[in-house]
Symmetry: C2
Subunit: 470 residues, 2 copies
C-alpha cells in the first residue's frame, strides 16, 4: 500500500532509523490491549517533532494512507489496532515534560510522556494531576487525551477532559493548530480543545498538551466496607452522595472479582462477602476525618457487615493496588479477558449490577463486576477463550444485552474506554441516527479523505461486533 517512492519521502523526513516496515516491527504494532483484534500496519513511523508529524500527514493525505497515532496501546476498544493498514505513528521521541508552570498551575507535555511519570513530576512540586487510569504506569498522556481517560479519582476530580487546557494538533491537511491556552476562561470560538479530547485520533494528531494542575490534597484516608448484599452496597453509595459527601474514590468489587484479586494480591481481602466498597477521601485533615467518620456511619446503617479504615498509608496503598490489579488478576483466569465499561447514572447502579448477573446466568458465562460505583461506571469482565467460538458467541450476546440495559437505564455504552472498533456497532444505540450523522459530518469536515485512524468510532454496520483479521 505504501509505494517505494512514498516510503523514500517518509524516510527523508524522519530518517531511516525511524521508519520500520519489517515484518517483526509491523507485528509488534498489529494489536493493542484489546482481545480479538489484530491487523498489520504497512509501517511504523517515529517522528521527532511536530513539524515532522505535519510533513508525514501531508504525504498521507495526498496518498490516502491511514495514520494510527499510538501511545502504549493500553486501550480496550481496539482504538489503536491498524485495521486499515497504513502508518502506526509512535511518540518515542516526543516524550518530554516541557514545562511545569507553578504560577499558572499547568504542565505542558509531549504526547509520549507516561502518565505516572507526569503525575510524579508534578507531585514533586506539591501539585496534583488527578486523572489516574489503571494503566497509568505504562499508558501515555497522548493516549489518555485521545481516549479521555477516567480512573479511580473521577468522582471528585473528573476525567482527563477536565484537565486539558490547550492542545497543539496536526490536522489531516497538515495544518498545525493551537487551541486554548493557560487560561481559566477562554471563549474565543468553538471549544476545539474538548472536541479533540476523546476523539480517538480520528480528527487529528495531538502533538502537545497543556494540562491543568491543582494543589496536592493535604491528606488522604482509605476505608473498606463489606456487604452480604449488593443492594446494600449500592444504597451506601447513594446515601453518601445524598449526605453531600463527594469522596475521591468509591470503588465497587463483587465477590467473584474479590476472590480473584485476593488470589493474586494476597493482602487478606475477604472473599466470603458479596461485595466491597473501597472508599477514599482526600483534602484538609479535619474534613477527611469528618467525612470518613460520616461515611463509616452511613455504610454501617446500610447494613455493611464490616467497615474498616486503613491504619497506615501502606495498608491503604495495598488496597488501592489490589483494586488497580483487578484486570491483571482476572486476566490470569482464562486465555481471553473481555472487559467492558457500561456506565449508568449513579442512582441506577444496583439495577445495573443485578441485570449483569441475570445476563451472565442467562448466557451461562462468568462475569466478574467491579468499577467506579460513584461514577456509575462499571467494568463487567468476562474471562473466556477466543478459540471457543461457541462460548465467545454467548459472551458477545451477553455484552450486547448489558449495553442495551445500560442505555435503557439512561446510561452509555462506554464510560472511559472509548468506542474504537469494539463499541462502534453500538454507538447508534446511544446517539441515534441523527447524533451519529452530526458526528460524521464533523469527522468528514476535518478529515475529508478519512486518513485519521479510519474505521474507528463509526461502524460500517451496526448491532454487531466486528472481528477483523487482515
Amino acid at each position: 500500500m505504501i509505494s517505494n517512492e512514498v516510503k523514500q519521502r517518509l524516510i527523508s523526513i524522519v530518517g531511516l532509523e525511524n521508519y520500520d516496515d519489517s515484518k517483526a516491527g509491523r507485528l509488534v504494532y498489529s494489536y493493542d490491549a484489546t482481545p480479538q483484534f489484530q491487523s498489520l500496519p504497512d509501517a511504523v513511523i517515529a517522528p521527532r517533532n511536530t513539524k515532522e508529524v505535519s510533513e508525514i500527514v501531508k504525504i498521507c493525505n495526498e496518498h490516502r494512507i491511514p495514520i494510527v497515532p499510538r501511545g502504549s496501546g493500553t486501550n480496550l476498544c481496539a482504538g489503536t489496532c491498524p485495521t486499515e493498514g497504513g502508518l502506526v505513528l509512535i511518540f518515542k521521541h516526543m516524550n518530554n515534560i516541557l514545562e511545569i508552570d507553578e504560577e499558572n498551575l499547568t504542565v505542558t507535555v509531549q504526547p509520549g510522556v507516561i502518565t505516572l511519570d507526569l503525575i510524579k513530576a508534578v507531585e514533586a512540586k506539591g501539585l496534583f494531576y488527578p486523572p489516574d487510569p489503571s494503566s497509568m504506569k505504562i499508558s501515555t498522556i497522548g493516549g489518555s487525551i485521545n481516549e479521555n481517560s477516567g480512573g479511580l479519582r473521577g468522582l471528585k476530580y473528573g476525567v482527563t477532559r477536565d484537565y486539558v487546557m490547550a492542545l497543539e494538533v496536526v490536522l489531516a491537511n497538515g495544518d498545525i493548530i493551537r487551541t486554548g491556552g493557560k487560561l481559566a476562561k477562554d471563549v474565543a470560538g468553538y471549544d476545539l480543545t474538548r472536541l479533540f479530547v476523546g476523539s480517538e485520533g480520528t480528527l487529528g494528531i495531538i502533538t502537545e498538551a497543556t494540562l491543568k494542575l491543582i494543589p496536592m490534597p493535604e491528606t488522604k484516608k482509605t476505608m473498606l466496607a463489606l456487604y452480604q448484599d449488593l443492594e446494600a452496597a449500592a444504597r451506601s453509595v447513594s446515601q453518601i452522595i445524598a449526605n453531600k459527601i463527594i469522596p475521591t474514590t468509591l470503588e465497587f468489587l463483587d465477590q467473584p472479582t474479590l476472590e480473584v484479586v485476593e488470589a493474586y494480591a494476597q493482602i487478606g481481602l475477604p472473599t466470603d462477602v458479596k461485595a466491597v466498597l473501597l472508599i477514599e477521601q482526600d483534602g484538609p485533615s479535619e474534613v477527611v476525618e469528618r467525612d470518613i467518620k460520616k461515611m463509616e456511619e452511613i455504610c454501617k446503617k446500610e447494613q455493611a457487615v464490616s467497615v474498616k479504615v486503613a491504619q497506615s498509608e501502606a495498608e491503604a496503598d495495598a488496597l488501592r493496588t489490589a483494586r488497580r490489579s483487578a484486570l491483571s488478576a482476572l486476566a490470569r483466569l482464562k486465555p481471553t479477558t473481555i472487559l467492558e465499561d457500561a456506565t449508568v447514572p449513579r442512582s441506577e447502579i444496583a439495577k445495573m449490577v443485578k441485570a449483569i448477573n441475570e445476563v451472565a446466568e442467562k448466557y451461562n458465562v462468568k462475569i466478574c463486576t467491579f468499577g467506579h460505583a460513584g461514577d456509575g461506571n462499571l467494568h463487567p469482565t468476562c474471562p473466556t477463550d477466543a478459540r471457543d467460538r461457541e462460548e465467545i458467541e454467548r459472551v458477545e450476546k451477553a455484552f450486547e444485552e448489558i449495553f442495551a440495559k445500560a442505555i435503557e437505564l439512561g446510561g452509555t455504552i462506554t464510560g472511559e474506554h472509548g468506542v474504537g472498533i469494539m463499541k462502534a456497532p453500538y454507538l447508534e444505540w446511544k446517539l441515534g441516527r441523527e447524533g451519529i450523522a452530526a458526528m460524521k459530518a464533523i469527522k468528514n469536515a476535518l478529515d475529508p479523505n478519512n486518513i485519521m485512524n479510519p474505521g474507528k468510532v463509526f461502524a460500517k454496520s451496526t448491532r454487531k461486533r466486528v472481528v477483523i483479521t487482515r
Copy 2:
C-alpha cells in the same frame, strides 16, 4: 424577507400570538446589551416546545432564513443582534426547571430559565450551581450555555462548560439530538456537549440542558485588601495561588472603578487607593478560617495597606453586590459603555493592567479596569459616547492594542463574553488562519446553509470592528 406563505406556515406551528412581525415587536429585539449594534429582525417567534423549534428550523433551512436564538440579550458581544434579519427565537414558553435530581446531583432545565432562579431553586435543596455571571438576575441559562458564561466563582469552580452534562439540541436540518447524560463518565463519540457550549447559537438551538450540581459549601468568608500599588495587588494574587490556596473569588478593581462603584453603591469603599482585591473562600469552616487567615498574611506581606475581613454576611454581601454592580455603575458615567474581557494567564495580570493604563493614556481615553484577577480575566471598561465618532475611533484603536497585548502575553481576546460580531475581526489573532478554517469547516458541516445565527463568530473581514446598521 419572510414571504406571506412562510409566515403562515410559521404561525400554524406556534399560533398567531407567538409570532410577531410588528415594527414595535421587531424593534425590541433589534439590539442586545452591546453598544453600537442594532439591526431589525423580520419577526420574533416564541416556540412552545422542542418539536415546534424543530419545525421552525426546517422551514428556515428550506428558505434560508436566519435564526437568532435569544435569552435575555445580556451578552456583550452583539451575539444576539439579528444583523442578517430573519427570526429572533425567544424562549418565554420554554422556561421551566424540569427536574432536580438529588441522587445524581443534576438539574434539568429548559433554556428560558433565569440563571438566578435556577441557583435559588437548587440552593433550597442544599445544592450548588457555581457559574454566576454578573447578569444572573436577568440572564437565562440558555444564554449562559450558548456563551459559556463565567462569573466571579470561576477560579475555584470553573465556568458554565464545566457544569453542562447533557443537551437536547435542534440542528440546522431540524434533527433533534441528545448529547451526554446524567453520567460522570461518557466517551461514546465526540464531545458534542462541549462543542455546543459556547458556540453562540451558530451550530444549533439548545432546547434542554442537564447541569451538574455540587453540594452547597458549608460556609463562606469575604475579605477586602487595599493597595497603593497595582503590582503589589497582582503579586498577592500570584502568591495566594503559589501557597496552594484556590479561593472561590479573587476580584480586582482599580481606583477609577472603585470611585464610580462607591458613588453608586455607597457602602464605604475606599476611593483613595490604587487597587483592591475582593477575596472569598468557601467550604468547611475550619478550612475557610485557615485559608482566610493565610491570605490575610500574604496580602499584608505583599504591601497591602489594609486588609479587612467582612464581619457579617450582610457586609460580605454588600461587597459582592458592589463588585457585581461595577458595569451598571460605570454605565452611568457616559452615554456609551464599552466593556471588554481580554484575558491572560494569571501570571501576566500585572503586565496586562500596566499595558491597559499605558494604552488608555496613549489614546487619551478613560479606561476603568476590574475583573477576575484569579482567572486572569480583566474587564477594561471605557465610558464613552457613540455619537462622538472621533473619540470612538480612538477607543477602538485602544482596544485593538489591548487585544494584541493580551495575545502577546499568551492570552485571548475574550474570556467569557464571547466573540459575536464585536470580537469576530480579532479571532484570527488568537486562532490563526488554520484554526479559523477548522472552526469554519465544523460550522459548515453542521449548518451548510448558514441559517444558525449567521454573521457571528466568523468575521467577513479581519482586523476591524464592524459596526453595522441595517
